[in-house]
Symmetry: C2
Subunit: 334 residues, 2 copies
């Protein structure tokens, strides 16, 4: 099963090389035990009771017991709203003041919770907070792209254990967004179809790589997954911008997202991971060619010089086998 | 000094955000002491004396004492030469047998050497081995791109301490290569100039980010460096393919490459790093628009969900300050 595969959406190539698992420095699913965390940590700025440690919240979902999900400005932002979006071009050197918005979505009042183990109804509240902030921030005309993402664990780039996600709103369209949108336009021109809808249709038909599916969403390992156990979650209804998500769709996304994270939690023993929501730049909204989606990347393999020098990847596992393993997880043990 | 910068060559945007260094989970130059290695390790397949542990060599540079640099096929390859380059397209699923060539360049007979500390004349031999293999492998008509790279240290993706580099020859042009070449063609069309030559000229004129320079090469921190202390080394003479390098140019590249690695070794206390050589796909050779170069990336910061979800980066240091620090290193202490 050694082959090269090309992702039709990103045009990236990956080497699927299962034979390499006997290499000395090769991928092994980490079996570390994450230390049990306490429910409350006095010096954690995100724990319920420590609200004074954060900047004033921009949004919250509350009930009679208090807040469930809370959004605050990032206390250490790289981008600041109090700046002008002015481009400076001097020869080959191009710059702009670091204008933008950065927020933190505190996913739960308790320090020791994680999305994989939260009730589905709570995960839905986290997604509602994402949508509310996305809708609110896109009103700022200086913002061209909104990236919602989560860093879970040290290998994923965070040392803060309290469950949280982040939002970064940038005053430019990242080059990678433009490249992928151009590809999706080309596919639409050539076929009259959205490449994401088409891919989803073929993944559902083959079902080999599908992990979770319900009325509005499907989760699958991409055919040309760049790294082990990467998962994409697509909305079944064609929509380009994340904030087009409807209330029934949020209720459908929550169990799929939680289901995928719970399967990864069991199969890979609580791995570090990143996820992000890929959405159209804010200047566009409804298009025939682009389709928003969720991408989840467990951080269990390293990128090295080959990846950095080529943009290609080597995946030492087989997507179909990853999917079969995740489907076989017994979630009743959680 | 918080700003966004765009690299004119890659079109990537980076957030230069020095203010974030007081973040709890932020970049700190690692000050770890690398364990002293022995000169010879009985179970190391790359140590002089253990040649029987490797596959038969494809190239070596020898003197009366024995080999100086030695090239062998990768014992655990993902790509194999005994395969056909045939594309398979089935709906959205595209694949090809994993055909290609992977070799290991053993840089020194001794286990405890590293390029940063080797004599310049030895570094020149390593580059000669790169060129010889590049020239030889490009003759294979199934090969479309050759990636030469080095993984140094565990954060850079290797657990093998013996000094070595790698070569991966692929039967496809990586998408990232195509994107960058298209950009370079567009720049050439619009200006009649190579964007790399133009960038080098402006970097030399400003000199703010230049670290090393001699007759044929210049090393600098890119204006829009994606991560701390990334370095580019450009040949001054316009050439698209690495194997166009001449013998006088090899003798000029060796002290610049060694100089950069030695400065990083001292300034960052022997950091893990990757480097790679970016060259035109093998199907082309002489072009007006593309320019080969060396890219060196110390692995001292982590990529997280923002980078994975946008292709943008946050650099918590300032390129001009990185360059000033590297220039100020006293190499006499080595």
């Amino acid at each position: 099963m050694d082959e090269l595969r090309q992702n039709i959406i990103t045009r990236d190539w990956v080497i699927i090389a299962k034979g390499r698992t006997d290499r000395p420095d090769e991928f092994v699913p980490t079996k570390k035990e994450r230390a049990m965390l306490p429910a409350y940590v006095a010096r954690c700025p995100f724990c319920a009771g420590n609200e004074a440690e954060t900047i004033e919240e921009t949004f919250a979902i509350r009930d009679e017991q208090g807040w469930k999900v809370r959004v605050v400005p990032n206390k250490f932002p790289a981008l600041l709203p109090q700046r002008e979006r002015t481009r400076k071009v001097s020869g080959v050197f191009r710059s702009m003041p670091a204008v933008g918005i950065q927020e933190v979505i505190i996913e739960h009042p308790r320090h020791d919770m994680t999305l994989a183990l939260m009730p589905v109804a709570h995960v839905a509240n986290v997604i509602r907070a994402y949508r509310q902030r996305y809708e609110a921030i896109r009103q700022d005309e200086r913002i061209e792209a909104i990236i919602l993402f989560k860093n879970y664990g040290e290998a994923a780039g965070t040392s803060l254990h309290h469950p949280h996600s982040q939002l970064v709103a940038t005053p430019i369209v990242p080059n990678q967004f433009r490249i992928r949108i151009e590809e999706s336009i080309r596919y639409f021109d050539d076929t009259g179809e959205c490449v994401f809808c088409r891919t989803m249709g073929e993944e559902l038909a083959s079902h080999e790589r599908v992990i979770e599916e319900n009325k509005h969403f499907v989760a699958f390992i991409p055919y040309a997954a760049l790294s082990p156990f990467s998962v994409w979650i697509f909305p079944k209804r064609h929509a380009s911008s994340f904030d087009e998500i409807t209330e029934p769709e949020i209720e459908s996304l929550a169990p799929v997202l939680k289901g995928v994270l719970a399967r990864l939690h069991v199969a890979l023993d609580n791995p570090d991971y990143n996820y992000s929501i890929r959405s159209i730049p804010t200047g566009e909204r409804r298009t025939d060619y682009f389709h928003w989606y969720f991408t989840i990347i467990p951080r269990i393999s390293k990128t090295a010089g080959f990846e950095l020098g080529s943009g290609m990847f080597i995946n030492p596992t087989v997507p179909e086998e990853n999917a079969a393993l995740l489907r076989s997880v017994d979630l009743s043990q959680l």
